[in-house]
Symmetry: D2
Subunit: 183 residues, 4 copies
């Protein structure tokens, strides 16, 4: 990173699937656009409301580009760290325009996504598929309430539902029950 770069971290949802391309030298680049929507408490109605979204185009390079194209998808919530850049160009009509983009240093799917999971090593899961069946799913444990899954998740199957009610009022959350950290 160059000294004096404007570092930015954005959390938002993909507005479209990432698009993967390759430079002439074979370098992978993925580009996607995310919408970051702040939520604020309306002090009148005591309800959470959405603020205006911030849209930003992000460019990822190399291995992460390929991974992004593979594993990210419209609707998913992601965390992006990068450097804010400005690019100037001329329209066909000869007008100067300037766009802001993020040169990505790190991206990843937010674990606040419905059931975004990454694969762990094979020692993890016995069976096929992904996620593990209910049987060996530690979340299924009776105690501290499973995050809700019926038969679900079992082998051969989808899993991730982009969308869903992720963020929600819990944003910035933490300890809404004034629980003490049990550590």
């Amino acid at each position: 990173m160059a000294a004096g770069d404007t570092v930015i971290t954005i959390v938002g949802n993909l507005v479209e699937d990432p698009e993967l391309r390759f430079t002439p030298t074979g370098q992978a680049v993925a580009r996607f656009r995310i919408a970051s929507t702040p939520r604020f408490m309306d002090r009148q109605t005591n309800e959470w409301k959405d603020g205006e979204s911030l849209f930003l185009t992000c460019n990822v390079w190399r291995q992460a580009a390929e991974n992004a194209a593979e594993s990210l998808q419209r609707g998913m919530r992601v965390i992006v760290q990068g450097r804010l850049k400005q690019r100037s160009y001329e329209t066909k009509e000869g007008e100067k325009r300037t766009v802001y983009e993020v040169e990505v240093d790190e991206v990843g799917p937010s674990l606040r996504n419905a059931t975004a999971k990454v694969n762990r090593t094979s020692r993890q899961g016995g069976g096929g598929g992904f996620g593990g069946g209910p049987a060996d799913d530690p979340w299924a444990s009776a105690t501290p309430a499973p995050p809700a899954q019926g038969g679900g998740f079992g082998g051969g199957g989808g899993g991730f539902q982009g969308g869903g009610q992720q963020g929600g009022a819990q944003q910035g959350g933490g300890n809404d029950f004034s629980d003490e950290p049990p550590f």
Copy 2:
């Protein structure tokens, strides 16, 4: 988030598996420790060297806690956004100590991880499983392969290799071949 919170974004590797606990009210909390290791170019030898690691304990709550415990693992590279906090306590010997911790707002596995992937919706993949062994891993191929592939990815297999040569010299990278973005 409270006004005036000290927001921090950390990228680093899990030093241990996340530990999941529940508060008396049943709230999930996961805690893990990450090591963030800067790399700098040694101008003498013209080599990349590791700087001193920064270690930080992170606390995640709720759904993300459960997801973290499920999908993160020692060695993985993660992106964490949260608020830096200081906690003071007394040792048994009556000495005051203070620790710094991060109250996590967002975490996710970095897509610079070897083959960190999250599940996409079922419309995505035809077949069964997820992950796929190194042998059929399209990312392993040097040639710019298209992200979508036919049979691929099939069943029974681990997938993620924590560790590996992730970060590497490409840190902060981007466009080392002075390629133009192909967009």
Copy 3:
């Protein structure tokens, strides 16, 4: 900045005057400690309350170190941008301790300080001094007064009151009257 450094921006008040020292080679370093106190809206009482302070030691180098020692002072609100570092050492009793410190890249007094001002060029002010007492302080006036004024600013007066009730409820604020930006 090394790649992978953990960048942090902290806003807080100096807990003590900066201390200036010089390395054997004559390099200036200033060190000071700041307290960053978040404020949150207590939803029960509908009042702003202070959260737990975060204390952090900051090291500034070179010119900025000298400027800091000269112009910063206990109580002042400052903005600090730097890299979070961990330093390990042994106590005299042989115990290992670790401290977190900020290697400062940029510091400056916050313009939310009571009357923190920096000097402008001489075309600005007619007269001698700087600061001006409360009586002739245009900022004290409720009516939107023009920033530049004739005689003003004259001589022999203190000016800055470190501490005081700066931040206040306006934190993160902006547009509390739902005014439209007049631009």
Copy 4:
């Protein structure tokens, strides 16, 4: 601050003097534009070079707005912390445009400015004025001078030279002589 806001810290130089306005309700707002220019080491020539500047418009409110209008000036280096926002509007020709702006939470002059200083209390300084001309400016001296000085600081003089060679190669600096912190 709303949850989910995209926090940004920018360091750059004012491209123009701040413009101060007031909303109908009398709320002060200052607006200015800054240029943030990264520097990178050209590994071929082993020289520091300027990267492309990032330009961003910033809006400050209230007291800080008035202070900004008073104390900031074209050319000065400032630190800005705020929230990145997007504003959409239509041109007179009916075209939709979108601009990115920063809603400022904190601003201050960088202490890496040539001689940016803020006033300290009168207990500080013996004499009259503030600022001091270049001639008697202790910061101008190359030798590590003690921060406290006798008569010092005397009257009638400009002081701040906006622009100049601020940033310089020392960006991100710290400890270029591998000096140990003398603390």
